[in-house]
Point group: C2
Chain length 704, copies 2
């Protein structure tokens, strides 16, 4: 949906405008006037002919033109009719402040459904209900109510949308205090029609929105985040997402607030990785990162340098850069030689390089030192720690840094502990040049490292374009599972896996003891026997498993015992037979899984078996389909990867076969997304390099 007219309307109507500017219905007119909106403004209210200096009409139909945008704060019960009237007038955008919809439950949900249906019939883009409005700084559009509309925001590159009005403006204030200007601010409320992703989608195409941000409690169309995020990445428009509602108590509060369901934290994390979305955890972090992006430069790698007048600050920035995955390597001999000619002789030429306050003694010293560091091809970004210089000195230093920033393409971050009041000119220079300036070396380091992670994500995600995910189509399997409501037995489940090329344990289903013994002979001893019944989920506990059977007699006896146990433990259970399986020795147990989430669609999980999954929660998710390079990253990103990679004298596991299995499981998850709800392969055994993998047990639940 093209939202240009919403953010740059030529005319605005305020439906139900009040002359009492203390009320919610009085404020929209007040703020349009206060901020000198240049377009045409109409009030609609049968009681008046004029409100706040603007002409007032009795009803929507009577307006002298079709306004680009209407604002509305009428009582909830009257809203559907008013939306209908807007539709008949041809109005394309409505900002709806009224509360009392889905967020209160019951009748509110019905009312919201009704207005959404009406909006869809007329193709009206509704912002809200239960929202605080929008601001578009370049066009003086201050279309909302409440305290935040008292202020003007400095125009700039940050466009943000918030599911909470309060937070949207809190973030905007913090960004502005940090020196980052705003382009659009949206409070999206209950999102009956337009949601966070519709706004982000529009910002991507808006040339003046350079940095995008969202405060998100939950998305109904979370899977779309992958597509929107990747489109933004491709256009080099970083998206900062502040996603809340991680803890259980938190998730409940979020659900009661915006009537959205909070998607699972793990799947959000997955999509952030897969789309290069930058996650933040507080308003200050959002402002810090927006500032870093505002600098407009991305590092080519993660090799960072720091130049400091304070040793302690150098330590802090190095600590933080390294903790965040950057490298802080010794300087090259060439750069060291260049610096030797520039800095005082007692300076140790390490990285960070602590030049002491002597850096500012000679006018050209900083300039030359910056040139030496920035010209070094082994340095991808620079932190400059100037500490607490003031007045003219601070101004000169700022000018030299701005020149260095302008003449090349490596990112620079600056730490200054000076109070603004004693370095006004310097602060103005940094802001004009959009150089990210931080009040602590830790935050300077963190922001520089974040740029490097984003740059890596760009490369990673763009690389996926050349690696289309594997697609496997098995209409026969889809058809077989269609309409199925019962869980699949282990035998059926492994058959499904095998159909998609995932290696499974060699096995046969036996219905008699003789059949079992014959199968065992064919498979070769030892074998395992497992009861197969859709009604027995915990086979071992039901006495339905026997392992390490070494001859036909043992197999026949075990068959009888298992069936007898099943009859005793679950007399009503439907018994499909007993599975005869080859026994495998050695290898490492891993777990693969699929969850078909209502908001994200199918996602694939990988982790190490046993304690690593159950106690340490050392697992990773990706939204399917997962392309091969991303599969390989999944394998390497779990903490216990070393166990597969050959640590502690173990043989290196067959990582290629493991990646094949995950890739095929992703293809399966996509192909069966309409019929399968959940899959657990536990364990999949990964043998030593060249030995392949084998799914030993599997559970498939149909989609319900």
């Amino acid at each position: 949906m093209d939202l240009s007219r919403l953010f740059n309307p030529a005319s605005i109507a305020v439906i139900g405008a009040s002359q009492d500017e203390r009320t919610i219905s009085g404020q929209p007119i007040k703020y349009l006037r206060k901020h000198a909106f240049q377009g045409r403004v109409y009030a609609v209210n049968p009681k008046y002919t004029e409100v706040g200096g603007y002409p007032c009409f009795a009803d929507i139909a009577s307006l002298p033109e079709t306004p680009d945008l209407a604002m509305m704060a009428v009582a909830a019960a009257r809203v559907p009719a008013m939306i209908e009237a807007c539709g008949r007038k041809g109005i394309r955008f409505v900002i709806l402040f009224t509360a009392g919809f889905a967020e209160v439950g019951g009748e509110g949900i019905r009312l919201q459904d009704e207005l959404a249906a009406t909006a869809r019939r007329y193709d009206i883009g509704i912002v809200g209900p239960n929202c605080q409005g929008i601001i578009s700084t370049a066009n003086d559009v201050y279309a909302g109510f409440g305290g935040p509309y008292e202020f003007r925001y400095k125009a700039g590159p940050l466009s943000l949308v918030s599911q909470s009005g309060g937070f949207g403006f809190a973030v905007a204030n913090m960004a502005e205090d940090a020196g980052v200007g705003l382009r659009h601010i949206v409070s999206s409320g209950n999102e009956a029609v337009l949601g966070v992703l519709d706004f982000i989608d529009y910002f991507i195409d808006d040339p003046d929105s350079e940095v995008l941000a969202a405060y998100v409690e939950g998305l109904k169309d979370a899977r779309r985040l992958l597509e929107v995020g990747r489109r933004a990445l491709h256009r080099r428009k970083p998206i900062l997402v502040w996603k809340v509602g991680n803890s259980e108590a938190g998730a409940n509060a979020a659900a009661s607030h915006t009537a959205n369901l909070g998607g699972s934290a793990a799947l959000y994390e997955a999509v952030f990785k897969q789309a290069g979305i930058v996650r933040v955890h507080d308003s200050l972090e959002l402002a810090d990162y927006a500032k870093a992006f505002q600098g407009g430069k991305l590092p080519k790698g993660r090799r960072m340098a720091a130049i400091t007048v304070s040793g302690g600050a150098g330590v802090l920035v190095a600590d933080e850069l390294i903790a965040q995955g950057c490298e802080v390597q010794p300087l090259s001999p060439e750069t060291t030689a260049k610096l030797r000619d520039v800095v005082p002789t007692f300076v140790k030429l390490s990285n960070p390089i602590d030049v002491t306050a002597g850096l500012f003694d000679r006018e050209d010293m900083l300039e030359k030192a910056l040139a030496a560091l920035l010209d070094d091809p082994a340095i991808d970004g620079l932190a400059i720690l100037v500490a607490s210089i003031t007045g003219k000195l601070a101004e000169r230093v700022a000018r030299q840094i701005a020149e260095a920033h302008a003449r090349q393409d490596k990112p620079i971050v600056v730490w200054s502990s000076t109070r603004r009041s004693v370095a006004e000119e310097a602060y103005a220079i940094y802001e004009a040049a959009r150089i990210p300036l931080y009040p602590s070396p830790v935050r300077a380091g963190q922001s520089l490292a974040m740029l490097s992670k984003y740059a890596a994500a760009v490369e990673r995600v763009e690389g996926l374009a050349e690696a289309p995910p594997l697609v496997i189509s098995r209409p026969d399997v889809r058809a077989r599972l269609s309409g199925r409501t019962q869980d699949l037995s282990e035998f059926e489940a492994t058959e499904v896996l095998a159909a998609y090329g995932i290696p499974v344990t060699r096995q046969r289903l036996a219905r008699t003891a003789e059949e079992a013994a014959a199968h065992a002979s064919e498979l070769g001893f030892p074998v395992a026997l497992k009861i197969q019944s859709p009604d027995i989920a915990h086979k071992t506990e039901a006495g339905g498993v026997r392992l390490s059977l070494n001859d036909r007699a043992a197999v026949a006896m075990a068959f009888a015992e298992i069936v007898a146990n099943a009859g005793r433990n679950a007399p009503a259970a439907q018994i499909d037979g007993v599975l005869v399986q080859e026994m495998l020795a050695g290898g490492t147990e891993v777990i693969l899984g699929v969850t078909n989430d209502s908001q994200f669609g199918p996602a694939v999980m990988f982790g190490l078996g046993g304690i690593f999954t159950e106690v340490l929660k050392d697992v990773t998710f990706r939204i399917a389909p997962v392309a091969r390079p991303e599969v390989e990253r999944m394998i390497r990103e779990i903490r216990a990867f070393a166990l597969l990679g050959g640590a502690r004298g173990r043989p290196r596991a067959d990582l290629r076969a493991l990646a094949d299995a995950i890739e095929r499981l992703s293809a399966l998850a996509m192909d069966l997304r309409d019929v399968v709800g959940e899959i657990d392969i536990n364990p999949l055994i990964v043998f030593a390099d060249g030995g392949g993998v084998r799914a030993v047990d599997a559970l498939i639940k149909p989609r319900r």
Copy 2:
């Protein structure tokens, strides 16, 4: 050392005072005058009779009285003589700004040693060298140089010492911006005489220093932190420590800066836990936490509630509290009933309770809601999220919160997103009442959770008073290891462990094949054989180990092989014999260790064996001696504790025997601290409950 005269001098001399106030030696006089220091001030400089309005004397000896404090910025080479002159005059405190000492190495180290020796001879407390001075707000003592001295600090409860001048003042500025007043600020420089802990020690006894803070790059007397930290805890004076230099690159930079060696990060973490010291990672966090402590109330437990006018803010604060280990439980029926009568009917009475902006509609609503929540005995602390109210309303709300804060003893934190300019009166009320006010719900939640962690630490550490650590004295073992330079063989090492009551594998040392066979018969089969030689560290690689030997013949043959392998692989090795050991089945492998750190003294380590230690680094440290309750916390705090606690159907391990072993190892580490440098028990096998533990292999390195 009593530092009262340093922080509250009646008279100050400035040695080498210059009339040029742009220079370092001119500024101390300038700032004493600027901030109207009320005591007597003398300049010392043969060139003048007056400096900046104060009388000037030719030399120290000529001063008309012995000043309480001298400041000095003379050239480094002249410093030792000047200190000597101060000593002869009877001066007890010197602030030494001059740089060029240990931080530059070489001759600087020698000069620093010399001045320290002189200071000790005359019992002079030196601040510095290479420092920026001190500030004591209550007495108008601004004794230093540089930009920060241009400002006056608001008086308040925070006293801080910093090993970096720049950071000390950056933190002080940030604290003041956050509404926290300062009492003392110290830049401790190279710490030739007085170090961070001397200042903290003094602050503990200073009644007006209520919250203590330190910026630390490295401590030479790190073990003392335990005693100083516990003393502070006992007096309920929280210590906030910002410790830097964690990464390798960071540690190097720190060493080059303050000429201190950075102690190991793990041991600092241990001592922070053991003494209830609060670690911070940035200046803003330090200011946030100082503000929380300034409130003066500690929670009795970790059950928190939040009341909010913004659903999103409620989610954020709940997320953060839970992530930091607090509980956010549903409200009790009693409290729910009380609130039902107070808040609007549509409000859902959950925790966090989202009362919407309606909370402010009736004058008494907030007051009654706060009373209901704070009177609930199942609530230990409260976050109040008022979002963006302004003017008179904000003032009324602040007043009601201040009343609630004053009349009871549970901590309250407040989030307001209002800009100060539109709520001046409210901000003033919060500050006067010392109510911690934060600009983000995340930081409010984090700070409240920190108070709860500190309160838990107080209880934990105070509890140790009733649990004196185990002491074992074995002068015979000490004597045997005295003067030893070679590592102990496995046999000798396990003998040492056994002497302290740590159960070890049953074993005998054999010198012939026959002896080995006889020992094996006594121990019972199967047994293991291991070569014993101080020259063979890697026994398995040298062919020096044979496992699972089931009869006398196998033992005799294995003996011959092992000795032959040793002769081939290490012809010059001294062979002490072959160890015959019982073989143990089952149990869980853990690792115990001791490191005798040059700064911390002996410390004890515990972790799970194999991958958990080597790959996941899942280990924990404590400075010895470790009392029993602390031993039990060590066991429970590793991530993989579930493996010992009975997860996944495993039997619960013998945790009592494990705790015994750690406690005894701690006693051993203390008893042998002068002779042992390092111990590794790898593995110690922990059997199922009641089965005890057994040290299977051990390495002891003497202290060198």
